[in-house]
């Protein structure tokens, strides 16, 4: 979830992320990582002579600017734009994920060597990195972060999940200045613990261990000191106007240091001359992030050039050229730039509301009805239509793009529920529904037996569902209208209600109560325009999303078999456990799957080489260089 907070998580997490939105916000998360994404495809950039130096201007997502600098991010500010466009440029996480085009552990860019497991003891050995103030990045810095998590994680850490990190850690200690040892509470899968727990750690410098400008503290050694330290740092971190001048944030171990900020949200980074990590011989020297009020404004600047032209930006989907068959992108409408589609490591879906207090809970709980509805989602048409040919068909709970070893052989065969209204009709008819395309389909054979509608559905119950969605995302609105139209062919009434991104999130997170205290809430389906990002929990095990009672299990789906299979994925390092779980859940359809839209259609100027993109949306502009 975590980074998913942008996509979702608790309501508090989302608010901070807008972001937006989002694509809200939010739409937000989407575009951002533009840079990281833009792989130069055999272009002119790779054929010419690299030169050192130069400034790169980079378009931030529309209506989104970083607003929190402290890499131990509180729920209100947990977002991808804060992490990828600010924090990770300055402060590097202990383990870096994104190996080329795959979401795997990148051992070269990690601050530590791969963890070593002996039963339930995990040993982390640090590489010889240094902070910009000359201090080594050492075991104390890891302990500082861990102690803070133990002290305030449950209340103030945006990626906290009850029962997981650090609840599943029995003890943590410093073995030497370069070695930390943890004892974990259960026989967890090594890959899960590395990819979903250790992935969250960002070492913090001693210079931050204080409760005021002149009052040092000792969170590094005393967990009890950490709450006050967090309170101080949290207050400082949320005030962007002081970021550049504050001595706190000047101590960095990443390749960049923040040298400029203005009230519009423009950020200027200059290369950290004391960076101790790997750096190519030729690279840019300054990186500027520019804010935009809308995608149209960004696209206008991208096209027109002008006083401050964009080196890396994005193409709004509505302006995207349809790619010819087999090609990843179409003819680039912006001369002199290279176009690349970036897909995020995640899934795209619309959750059902399984809340037993809901009037249609009986309907939503029927697996055959969910399968019938999925058969009415024409993913291919959405990709070809509103998404202009950019998008990936979603097949189940594990991301389909990029193709990883996590995807089961069965999922790799393709969409198990391709658009098929006839099959959907047959499913409904064979379960006692009177399919009435001219009206509203209703149950005429109530009961639990074969050929009957199923438990909780009374005679005459109409197949009518309310779907609340976040407005402002053109392709989502088109896709939903298409779904409504497809459903109406079988007399299924889907009523659409558009709200702002924040309002949808507020309604779906907490609006239906808790797994033990349900409240009636006015939706059976909810679409905030995005889905779930498997960042910074990079292993797609589903424990945060589909397990009974999980905080991000918005629809309150509950299935004992699913819970048991998820538990297996957390214990077993074998891929077979994950395949078994995903093949089971793919048939259960706890959510309605929709196509995965590109996170960004990245445009980079032809004279700039920006390396291979990462589906984790992290970016490494220190590797970028101009060519002559």
């Amino acid at each position: 979830m975590r980074r998913a907070s942008q996509r979702h998580g608790s309501a508090g997490r989302i608010r901070g992320s807008r972001p937006g939105a989002a694509c809200g916000g939010i739409l937000a998360l989407v575009l951002v990582a533009a840079a990281c994404s833009t792989a130069v495809t055999g272009s002119a950039a790779s054929a010419r002579t690299p030169v050192s130096g130069g400034i790169v201007t980079y378009a931030l997502p529309a209506n989104t600017t970083p607003n929190y600098i402290f890499p131990f991010t509180s729920g209100a500010y947990f977002s991808q734009v804060n992490e990828n466009q600010l924090q990770f440029l300055l402060y590097r996480p202990l383990y870096w994920y994104g190996e080329g085009k795959l979401p795997y552990l990148n051992t070269q860019l990690s601050l530590a060597y791969p963890p070593v497991y002996h039963d339930q003891v995990v040993t982390i050995r640090l590489k010889p990195y240094r902070w910009s103030d000359g201090e080594p990045v050492d075991a104390n810095d890891v302990l500082f972060w861990m102690h803070m998590l133990q002290a305030v994680g449950a209340t103030d850490y945006g990626a906290y999940v009850r029962g997981e990190f650090p609840d599943n850690v029995q003890s943590v200690r410093k073995v030497s200045s370069t070695e930390v040892q943890m004892v974990i509470k259960g026989p967890y899968s090594r890959i899960w613990f590395t990819y979903n727990e250790l992935s969250q750690i960002t070492p913090m410098p001693k210079a931050w261990d204080r409760t005021g400008p002149n009052t040092p503290s000792d969170c590094t050694d005393q967990v009890s000191d950490c709450a006050a330290v967090f309170s101080y740092l949290n207050g400082q971190a949320a005030n962007p106007e002081t970021w550049v001048s504050s001595p706190l944030w000047r101590v960095v171990d990443g390749p960049w240091r923040l040298t400029g900020y203005n009230s519009e949200g423009k950020l200027t980074f200059q290369l950290n001359a004391k960076y101790s990590g790997p750096l190519p011989k030729d690279h840019i020297s300054e990186f500027q992030e520019l804010p935009f009020t809308s995608e149209e404004a960004e696209y206008n600047v991208l096209q027109a050039g002008g006083g401050q032209p964009l080196d890396v930006g994005y193409l709004p989907t509505v302006d995207a050229p349809v790619p010819p068959p087999g090609a990843p992108v179409g003819q680039n409408p912006v001369a002199g730039y290279q176009l690349q589609a970036l897909y995020e490591w995640g899934i795209s879906y619309i959750p059902y509301n399984f809340n037993p207090a809901d009037a249609q809970a009986g309907v939503v709980r029927q697996q055959y009805i969910r399968q019938a509805l999925q058969l009415l989602v024409n993913q291919a048409a959405v990709i070809q239509g509103p998404l202009h040919g950019y998008g990936q068909v979603s097949t189940g709970p594990v991301g389909d793009s990029p193709r990883t070893s996590y995807l089961s052989p069965k999922s790799k065969q393709g969409d198990p529920f391709p658009y098929n209204p006839a099959q959907a009709r047959s499913l409904l008819s064979s379960h006692g529904w009177n399919v009435d395309p001219a009206g509203v389909t209703s149950c005429e054979s109530p009961g639990r037996g074969p050929g009957e509608c199923g438990p909780g559905i009374r005679a005459g119950t109409q197949l009518s569902l309310k779907l609340v969605y976040a407005t402002g995302n053109a392709w989502v609105e088109s896709a939903l209208l298409q779904l409504k139209s497809n459903a109406s062919q079988l007399g299924i009434d889907i009523s659409l209600t558009g709200k702002t991104f924040d309002d949808v999130l507020a309604e779906v997170f907490g609006g239906c109560g808790t797994p033990t205290a349900f409240k009636v809430c006015p939706w059976q389906l909810a679409d905030w325009g995005q889905g779930w990002s498997y960042v910074p929990d990079f292993l797609p095990t589903g424990d945060e999303l589909f397990k009974t009672g999980a905080a991000s299990n918005i629809g309150q789906y509950s299935n004992h078999t699913n819970d048991a299979l998820i538990a297996d994925t957390l214990r077993s390092s074998s891929l077979r456990a994950m395949w078994t779980w995903q093949d089971y859940l793919t048939q259960q359809l706890p959510v309605m799957l929709q196509p995965l839209a590109p996170a960004a259609l990245v445009e980079s100027i032809g004279t700039l080489h920006i390396g291979v993109q990462s589906p984790t949306l992290v970016m490494t502009p220190e590797d970028w260089y101009y060519v002559r």
Binding site: G75, A76, N239, N262, T293, E296, N300, V301, A304, D502
Partner: protein, 317 residues
């Protein structure tokens, strides 16, 4: 005149007090009350103490209002926890941009619309009048995003004469001196405003031309130019003053569509963002400033009436 002036200032002061009370009451009317409205998230001890300090929560309502008003009068309009910035700072960065955009457009529009409206009235139903009327219909009916997009496509993307985005330099001086980037957003707003103003001026001038004092002036030997400039123009300006007064909320509140299209973080865009994110301190702070500005502007417009038309002050006194 002095009595009229005093009375209008007193009325404006009362209106300002009313605006401040309505804005203050909004904190309590919003879902979740003032705490959730202002903070928009979980309360930390630091935030809670800041809230108590700024808004006097926990004390009688009158005391809270006076406490808040005291903060406002000292320039503290609150803090946006969504943006991590003070409302005053957001205002300081967005108001100059908006004023540079809307005020410039309004002034240029008035400078173009007044002579154009007079010319139309003087040559009623002539080819000039018909052409200008047609153009004003087109300008009046054209959505600003369409006009702005056309201007960007032609002058920024194709011809590279002007910038595709508004000025990004800080401060009003930086904005006003960046004419290359300011031209297209101002032009977009100007075209729309000219269309509106010109119709008012034409209609008002036609009415003036039919008055007895115009016939008298003509009978006394005044030529057409003298009639228009000395007799028709002053009387035709009165509705323009009204229109200018009515434009004040727009001038201060910004032009959301144009700002969004031209990447200008002005008042309109900020308010829209705040509404989307439930950033109530920004919404309320900006509303207060726009309300106060509108009241002050209306006062100036009324004073302008009194100067332009003595009947106003005599009638009201």
């Amino acid at each position: 005149m002095i009595a009229y002036l005093v009375r209008r200032i007193a009325q404006a002061a009362a209106a300002l007090a009313g605006v401040s009370m309505i804005v203050f009451a909004s904190f309590w009317l919003l879902p979740g009350g003032p705490r959730s409205a202002i903070l928009g998230g979980p309360l930390s001890a630091g935030r809670l103490s800041a809230l108590r300090r700024d808004y006097g929560l926990g004390r009688p309502v009158v005391v809270q209002y006076l406490s808040w008003l005291g903060q406002v009068l000292h320039g503290n309009l609150g803090f946006s926890y969504v943006r991590g910035q003070s409302v005053g700072s957001l205002l300081a960065s967005s108001l100059p941009r908006t004023l540079a955009l809307t005020l410039t457009a309004t002034v240029i529009a008035a400078a173009v619309a007044i002579p154009a409206g007079l010319a139309q009235a003087a040559r009623r139903d002539s080819l000039t009048d018909r052409v200008l009327r047609g153009l004003s219909y087109v300008g009046y009916g054209m959505p600003s995003f369409l006009l702005g997009s056309i201007l960007i496509l032609v002058f920024a993307v194709r011809l590279h004469i002007f910038g595709a985005e508004g000025p990004q330099a800080p401060g009003i001086a930086g904005v006003l001196t960046d004419w290359q980037d300011l031209t297209l957003p101002v032009l977009t707003l100007t075209v729309l405003t000219v269309a509106l103003f010109a119709r008012y001026v034409r209609s008002s001038a036609l009415e003036s031309l039919a008055q007895d004092y115009v016939r008298t002036a003509r009978g006394a030997g005044a030529d057409s130019r003298q009639v228009l400039t000395r007799h028709v123009l002053p009387n035709s300006l009165i509705p323009v003053l009204t229109l200018a007064g009515l434009s004040l909320p727009r001038i201060l509140g910004g032009a959301l569509v144009v700002e969004s299209l031209f990447n200008i973080q002005g008042m309109g865009w900020q308010i829209w963002q705040a509404a989307q994110r439930h950033d109530f301190p920004v919404l309320l702070g900006f509303t207060l400033v726009i309300g106060a500005g509108t009241v002050a502007g209306s006062l100036l417009a009324d004073l302008g009436y009194a100067i332009a038309d003595p009947r106003v002050r005599y009638t009201r006194s």
